[in-house]
Amino acid sequence: MDKNEPNPLLEKLKHLGVFSGAKGMVIPPHSKKPIEVVLGGELVETPYGAVLSIEKQFQDDYHHGKVLLDDIPISPIVMDWSKPTKNLPMSPKVVFLDTETSGLAGGTGTFAFMIGCGCMTQDGFKSTQLFMSEPGLEPALLCVLDKILYGADVIVTFNGKSFDMPVIRNRYVLHHMEPSFIDCHHIDILHLSRRIWRERLKSRRLGELEREILEFNRSGEDIPGWMVPEMYLDFLTSRDPAPLAGVFYHNRMDILSLGALLKHLSILIDNDNENVNQHGSDSLAIARLYGDQGLDMEAANRYEQLIGTNLQEHQQEIVYTQLANIYRKKGMLDKSIALLELATQYGSVNAAISLAKIYEHIQRNYQMALFWTEEAMKYSEIDGHSEDIRPSIDHRLQRIKHKIAKME
């Protein structure tokens, strides 16, 4: 059936109410210039067809916001946190990756029509953006992507764990292809950003991070993310590549921001000891990151520096309890008890329970254990969030009372 023949089913479908009809888009006429002429770049030939590739080299004095992109070191803490499953080389080949897709729904029907990659070179940051001008050219796109990612040790994305990488993996499966980067190590900057900036920022969206952290503002050329799928559909209908320039810009900025964020985070995490007073909540999050990586003394150092700073109450409480926890592990019980008692100033149920545990199980001072258990119960009634732990506090209370009775 030809496209221009009348379609007998169309009217029926409209009547059934299941079909909303055309969106009535009027596409203006345009010049028939080839895409690589309008947008720059070159066509990369593959056995499956040609893909547009646009490379951009940024000089090593390029600042992305306040971050100088001359080099992107990865903090060992960040590396550890991202749990590599195999040994990585001393200076791994790192690729920053971001996709522009047909939608955000996920599943087999969501595809990437543009995949941007970035990496550090000796001359500075370089971006390579691949674009398919027809959905049918997807095997070619995947083929070229595979070549670019060949030999990469680390892929860095923003929310790629749950979106970009599953989409890309699906696409290879759909073409019965096996990507060579399937087991490549992956660092998702979104997850790390959530850890560090959950308290301080309204959201951890890339735009927010660019403004608040990188102090970077996009130019008017940028296309907002939600418009991107529509832009591609417009291009498929009109074949006019000019409006796509904004999409390329958008994607390129995403990749640069990825690099800048990773550098900023790495420096922040590695050197936090020296400039704690900048943002207490960042420092607290970093201290916890060290703690979670098992670097107790590093973490303790950072917590100690946070004592007496102008943190909010619940943050101060975390500092005391976390630090007390580390000291208890190291056998410094007096220090631990003193810190926990400080935490109970803020009505910390956990601190009171920790104290009760120390007195009951280590010091065997049941009267003190009883005191702190009763305190815990009191706090839990006040704070209103601890209802579900009240039975276990009560259980502890009964047990300690029983022990006291037995001793008497």
Partner: protein, 850 residues
């Protein structure tokens, strides 16, 4: 004597009940046909069977084994509790033992059933201590798992990586698995068996959806290079092979010869006493069940009472617990709309025996293993004969003796069945009808299929030809959701089309039900589909849940929520609906001088215009409220029968045409005034004077019974009545039109013979219809969007229906029409029996001659 005998003894001697028993049917115990285990059965499976006390198989299990081992697609239709599960489990386990990479997918219509059936597979996983351990190394590794809406997302990757028996339901396959098939690559590449259990439930709209889902499944399998066998099980239906091939576009072998022993069951057919012989009114079936219930409880007979609707579950539960002193926890309701956790706990309590009686909709009729139930009470025809058998089969799964009691309602189908009980017990006549090529459903699933994989040039979709596929793809192109280049079609939409389609209803959207507690907290108690919401939970409706009444405060269709509060009102509510039908296109027509019958596409719009409040105690209407709700529009198919003016004249000459609207004539206003003055502006029955409103004027002998209006309007035939007395008087003498009587009985009988739910078809009759150039018309229309083939099936056989209708009306003991033949009294008065018969006779003459 055991408790069942005691109970049945009571039935036959109890004064209140014994008179109502129409017939007893004793199904004799039947010896099973056993065969030894297959010689090539893997030793570990053999040991596992022996550990389950199975040392031989029923003949049909061997038949299934042989067919499946030979690589045939089969449909198994043996009786309830005949071991259908083993029919497929055994050959599949054998194959997976021989080929450890193979996988199998089991599809159950409900989540509950999947939960239940998982246990039957896991039984084979038990380590076997009776034999030499050396054999265990080659025993099948069963990695069975359920994936459904309840599966937590963090568990899914683990399941995807390992599972070789995947148990799921159509909805999950539709929305969760197929659109993400790449993550199930291993499963699909090695998929050897697809089991579709309870395939008879996949009929009508749901079945048409599932047929398209299967097309998508097969398409994905082919992509991964697999071509699985399909094994279907079904309750008894008339067209198992046809249904199987409609559902799965493949040839099938039928396994129907049941080798399982039967322990004998007593079926009791009960027709409630006529409480008003003139009106032919019988005691309500629910009421009859409420009389029966305490006897079941006192004889320690564990039972399930099946009712027709969600509403009657609640009404009956309320009636039984209010009238009897029942220990708490002995009786509960069960129906869709309850939360899953609530249903699981009811199932468990039923199985443990703690729960003595469950009042349920058909939600419990599917093959859940809920343990032994001594008796089943089927209150009213449950929609299909197959359902009667399924429900009866719930009794005595593990007992030697069991009882099934069918209580007939006033409905014509029930009354037909009471008088033709052979038809109910032995005759397997129902067909399961589906229409996989229903355009609305096709459109929905082609979008999903396209999302899953691109369409290649000239690709078909199951049995659907490539030209139609392309036409629909071209239509999708209008919304820019597809890119067609060089014959290949790619999905380019930004949405997730599966989430826009609900398999269970044409409507799709759900309305969540919230109860506002005293603390102002909202607690979700259930959900209904959008189309049902307008009549079930409109503002002011009294909604029943677990026997408790809730008053609906607000219904927000955009947000999909209804907010209600606990209600202590002494009334319940009933919606008032309004209907309009337009014919869009005639599909087929059969016409002679006097009669036209046609099947057509129709636009049906129905709206709930208000509701009535009816007291619990006396079933009196105490108020009516208007509502303004958006109409539900359905483009569907219908069967129409219209009569020529010649036929109308013939019947008029017999004095039996009463279908015309009353026209009291130009003098009526002055006549009214005259009569009111004569009667002193007082009601002639109760004597009450006029208030703000004028009293009514009533024809003692109705207008329609006269040949001329002037005769009817003689002053001596007119009296003044107050509105309340007028209503009572009208109920006695208002004549039912033959036309509406005919539509009533055809509607019911059509549903019986089409194996469809009474709610799948709607009826409409109009004496002077625009749709038939001012002539009378009767329309039976499908409620499902696009239709499911019911109207087309009816088009072939209205004569047969007319014969049966004539038979039913003639054998009805009522004097002049009743709810069991030509319609219920409350709706349009009484009478109409002669009139309806006259129309049938006219129609039969013409169809025979035509």
């Amino acid at each position: 004597m055991d408790k069942i005998d005691n109970f049945l003894g009571l039935l036959s001697s109890d004064q209140l009940l014994s008179d109502d028993i129409v017939s007893w049917h004793h199904e004799e115990a039947r010896a099973g046909k056993f065969q030894p285990l297959p010689p090539d059965l893997h030793i570990s499976l053999k040991n596992s069977l022996i550990a389950q006390n199975i040392s031989d198989l029923y003949s049909h299990q061997i038949d299934a084994w042989n067919a499946i081992r030979a690589g045939k697609n089969v449909i198994i239709t043996t009786g309830t509790a005949s071991g259908k599960t083993l029919c497929y489990n055994l050959p599949i386990l054998q194959s997976l033992t021989e080929h450890p990479n193979q996988t199998a997918m089991y599809i159950f219509p409900t989540r509950a059933l999947a939960q239940d059936q998982l246990k039957s597979i896991i039984k084979f996983q038990q380590p076997d201590h009776t034999t030499n351990n050396a054999f265990n190394s080659s025993s099948p590794t069963i990695r069975a798992s359920i994936i459904d809406g309840d599966t937590p997302s963090h568990m899914r990757p683990g399941i995807k990586g390992k599972v070789n028996f995947l148990l799921t339901n159509p909805d999950m396959l539709h929305i969760g698995i197929l659109p993400h098939h790449t993550t199930w690559k291993r499963l699909f590449e090695n998929l050897r068996f697809v089991v579709i259990d309870e395939a008879h439930t996949y009929r009508g709209i749901f079945g048409s959806h599932v047929a398209n889902l299967v097309r998508r499944l097969i398409r994905v399998c082919h992509f991964y290079g697999s071509d699985p066998l399909f094994i279907l099980t079904s309750a008894t239906i008339a067209n198992p092979l046809e249904h199987a091939s409609n559902l799965v576009d493949k040839p099938f072998d039928l396994i129907s010869s049941d080798g399982a022993p039967s322990h004998g069951r007593t079926m009791v057919i009960v027709n409630p006493t006529i409480i008003n012989s003139e009106l032919g009114l019988r005691r309500g079936a629910n009421h009859e069940a409420a009389i029966l219930a305490p006897h079941l409880l006192s004889h320690d007979v564990q039972s399930i009472l099946f009712t027709r609707s969600r509403r009657s579950v609640e009404l009956l539960l309320k009636e039984i617990t209010n009238k009897n002193d029942v220990p708490s926890g002995w009786i509960r309701g069960y129906r869709s709309g309850y939360l899953a956790s609530e249903r699981r706990s009811i199932e468990a309590a039923l199985k443990s025996g703690e729960l003595r009686m469950v009042i349920s909709t058909n939600a419990l009729e599917l093959g859940m293993d809920i343990g032994s139930v001594d008796a089943v009470v089927i209150i009213g025809y449950p929609g299909t004969l197959a359902a009667i058998r399924q429900q009866a089969g719930r009794a005595g799964r593990r007992h030697n003796r069991s009882a099934a009691i069918f209580i007939a309602s006033q409905n014509p189908i029930d009354q037909y069945l009471v008088n033709h009980s052979d038809y109910m017990i032995t005759n397997p006549v129902e067909k399961a009808l589906i229409n996989p090529d229903n355009l609305a459903i096709l459109y929905a699933h082609l979008r999903c299929a396209l999302f899953e994989l691109p369409f290649l040039e000239r690709e078909k979709f199951g049995a659907l030809d490539d030209e139609t596929v392309l036409q629909i793809l071209r239509a999708i192109e209008e919304t820019r959701e597809v890119r067609i280049t060089e014959g290949k079609a790619f999905w380019t939409g930004s949405t997730y089309p599966a989430s826009q389609v609900s398999l269970r209803s044409a409507g799709g959207d759900r309305v969540h039900l919230y109860v506002r507690e005293e603390s102002e907290n909202l607690v979700r108690i259930g959900e209904v589909d959008r189309d049902s919401a307008t009549w079930m939970v409109h503002e002011g409706a009294v909604y029943l849940h677990q026997g408790e009444a809730f008053l609906v405060r607000s219904l927000n269709l955009e947000q999909g929520e209804a907010i209600m509060e606990p209600s202590w009102m002494d009334y319940y509510t009933e919606p008032v609906r309004e209907l309009n039908i337009e014919i869009v296109e005639t599909i087929d027509e059969c016409q002679n001088v006097d009669l036209i019958k046609f099947v057509a596409e129709a636009l049906v719009s129905s709206s709930v215009t208000g509701y009535r409040m009816i007291t619990w105690a006396k079933r009196e209407i105490v108020g009516t409220h208007p509502l303004s709700l958006p109409p539900n529009e359905t483009l569907t198919e219908c069967l129409g029968i219209s009569l020529s003016s010649q036929v109308v004249n013939n019947i008029k000459q017999l004095g039996l045409w009463t279908s015309e609207e009353n026209n009291y004539g130009p003098e009526w206003a002055s006549l009214r005034e005259q009569v009111r003055r004569r009667d002193g502006y007082k009601c002639r029955v109760c004597g009450i004077g006029e208030g703000k409103q004028q009293h009514h004027i009533h024809h003692k002998v109705p207008l329609k019974a006269f040949t001329s209006r002037d005769e009817a309007n003689t002053i001596s035939n007119l009296i003044t009545l107050c509105p309340s007395c007028h209503r009572k008087a009208e109920n006695v003498v208002r004549l039912r039109s033959g036309l509406s009587g005919l539509s009533y009985i055809l509607h019911h009988l059509a549903c019986l013979f089409l194996m469809c739910d009474i709610e799948d078809l709607g009826r409409y009759s109009e004496p002077q219809s625009k749709l038939a150039d001012g002539n009378p018309i009767i329309i039976l229309y499908e409620l499902a969007q696009g239709g499911t083939g019911l109207s087309r099936a009816l088009f072939g056989q209205p004569e047969d229906l007319l014969f049966r209708a004539k038979d039913l009306i003639a054998s009805c003991p009522c004097l002049d029409g009743c709810p069991s033949c030509v319609g219920p009294g409350g709706e349009a008065g009484l009478g109409g029996k002669q009139e309806t018969l006259a129309i049938i006779d006219e129609l039969l003459i013409h169809s025979v001659h035509g």
